[in-house]
């Protein structure tokens, strides 16, 4: 990569969301903001190798995008005389950006708008990756194994709803903030999880592009809302999961479970950062939400030099807290696994049997049963559970791992 290419990639990572957000604030239209920002980056690709990298890349991109947007609106104005009056309002270059009396970051408004609860979850994910992450439509379509045209339509529809229904471009007020932040975090966690354990046979088992992108947006959100415990919790959870990436897939393409991972391959820098964030929340003395608890569980795991050093009683205590907040059967399953490490496989199996009705189509339920039955020497039942887990597993590396475990049964 040349210096110019590196500079453009860096600018794309660091400036895309800001440029879109500044233009969306200025022009009151996400469509215009998105297209003009894309135009500005295309211009940078053409100009920077010739003119050199501007000293203030962000400023250069914002100014260029602003000009592109005005050109575009002027062209549209000629086509549609009717809208002239409305658009003239935006042509006034002297007009100060929309100001509610506070100086919050435009990017925060952009994130909340893209994750608005009036949009479907799929639309929120697609829009956030496009507008905040700067991913192209083909990249987003590939990430979710969707048709490019279908993904383009989804994004267009979402932008149109924002415009026509007048979804406001603003940060929610304090009383509505917690559910709105949850909505943003759910979007980021969904993108991260798709990267952490990718579904589909045609993809890599771990999609680093998706985990990296969701971490990048979570870092941005954390920088903008440093006092929000759940934002911190989700970032810490992502970092501590990402830290184990190199150890999670074997050279043969098999998923490696936590207790068999080569801990020397874990990323010490990411672990240190994750632990620092978790400790910060502990000293805040505020009852943690689910992401903070999940981060703390990951902190316990990543604190152990060897699997045998894991303080499982701490993990159980944290899952007890989580169950009180989240009664989902998947949380109950993970709690049972932790209890199995403290009180034995028989106790865990009894707990898990109670979840059969709710989780009979969930591969991890059967994989967990298979492992517990194996430890109890119930070989035939264990084999059956592996078969079921393999049939349901959406991740190729996980299916390979389960296949080997099954074939190693006596």
């Amino acid at each position: 990569m040349t210096d110019v290419e590196r500079a453009i990639t860096r600018a794309h990572h660091e400036e895309w969301a800001r440029v879109v957000a500044v233009l969306a604030t200025r022009f009151g239209d996400l469509d215009v903001a998105e297209e003009a920002t894309a135009d500005a980056f295309a211009t940078a690709v053409a100009r920077w190798p010739v003119d050199g990298i501007p000293p203030n890349a962000g400023g250069w991109l914002t100014t260029t995008a602003m000009r592109k947007a005005i050109d575009r609106l002027r062209r549209e104005r000629k086509r549609e005389e009717k809208q002239e009056a409305a658009q003239m309002y935006y042509f006034d270059e002297q007009r100060a950006p929309a100001d509610d009396g506070d100086i919050e970051d435009e990017r925060l408004r952009l994130i909340f708008t893209c994750c608005h609860p009036a949009l479907s979850m799929e639309s929120r994910v697609a829009l956030t990756l496009r507008m905040v992450g700067g991913l192209t439509v083909p990249e987003i379509a590939r990430a979710f194994l969707a048709q490019e045209t279908a993904m383009a339509q989804r994004i267009t529809r979402a932008k149109s709803k924002i415009r026509v229904a007048n979804i406001p471009f603003r940060v929610p007020e304090a009383d509505e903030l917690p559910p709105r932040v949850s909505s943003v975090l759910a979007v980021l966690y969904l993108v991260f999880n798709e990267g952490y354990l990718a579904t589909g046979s045609g993809t890599d088992p771990i999609r680093h592009d998706l985990t990296a992108e969701s971490i990048r947006i979570a870092r941005l959100l954390h920088a903008l809302m440093p006092d929000d415990g759940e934002v911190t919790g989700l970032l810490a959870l992502m970092l501590l999961s990402e830290a184990r990436r190199a150890a999670r897939v074997s050279p043969g393409g098999e998923l490696v479970p936590l207790d068999e991972q080569d801990r020397a391959l874990w990323d010490a820098t990411l672990i240190a950062e994750g632990h620092r964030l978790v400790r910060g929340r502990l000293t805040a003395g505020i009852a943690p939400g689910r992401y903070q608890i999940l981060a703390a569980i990951n902190a316990v795991h990543t604190s152990a030099r060897n699997p045998d050093d894991t303080e499982w009683w701490q993990v159980v205590a944290l899952y007890d807290q989580l169950v009180a907040l989240d009664s989902s059967p998947i949380v109950a399953l993970n709690r049972a696994i932790a209890i199995g490490e403290v009180e034995g496989a028989g106790v865990a199996l009894a707990l898990i049997d109670g979840l059969q009705r709710q989780l009979s189509d969930y591969h991890a339920y059967h994989a967990t049963r298979a492992e517990l039955l194996r430890r109890l020497g119930r070989v035939d039942e264990s084999r059956g559970a592996y078969d079921r887990a393999i049939a349901l597993a959406g991740n190729v590396a996980e299916a390979r791992h389960l296949g080997r475990r099954r074939d190693q049964l006596p």
Binding site: H116, A118, V164, A165, N166, I167, P168, E176
Partner: protein
């Protein structure tokens, strides 16, 4: 801008609002008026009182009954004035609670003039 808040009825056992629902709707309507959100509102007769007219051809055609038969149907609506969708959604949630039914929010398109 204006939003249409449609009240959707999906319980075959009842149609009309009961007295408690009526009282809650009145309180909500008063609030809409006091806060400047009120434009118009009304309750509708049951779908079997509807008549569909099609005069795209030479003669108007009348047919008895609603244009679509469905277990869920419109029983009433509010037209409200709200600065943005967040405000409209907040009001609509209170409207849903007051009339004890599902509601749907849709924006009016801007006046073309």
């Amino acid at each position: 801008m204006r939003y249409l808040v449609s009240v959707i009825h999906d319980d075959p056992r009842t149609t009309l609002a009961d007295p408690a629902e009526m009282a809650a709707i009145d309180v909500f309507n008063d609030r809409l008026m006091a806060e400047g959100h009120w434009v118009f509102a009304g309750g509708l007769g049951a779908p079997d009182t509807a008549t569909v007219i099609d005069h795209r051809g030479a003669e108007p055609m009348f047919s008895d009954g609603p244009f679509i038969e469905s277990k869920e149907f419109l029983v009433g609506f509010w037209v409200i004035e709200a600065p943005d969708l967040d405000v409209a959604l907040k009001l609509a949630s209170e409207g849903s609670k007051a009339c004890n039914r599902k509601v749907e929010v849709r924006p009016f398109l801007p006046d073309p003039t």
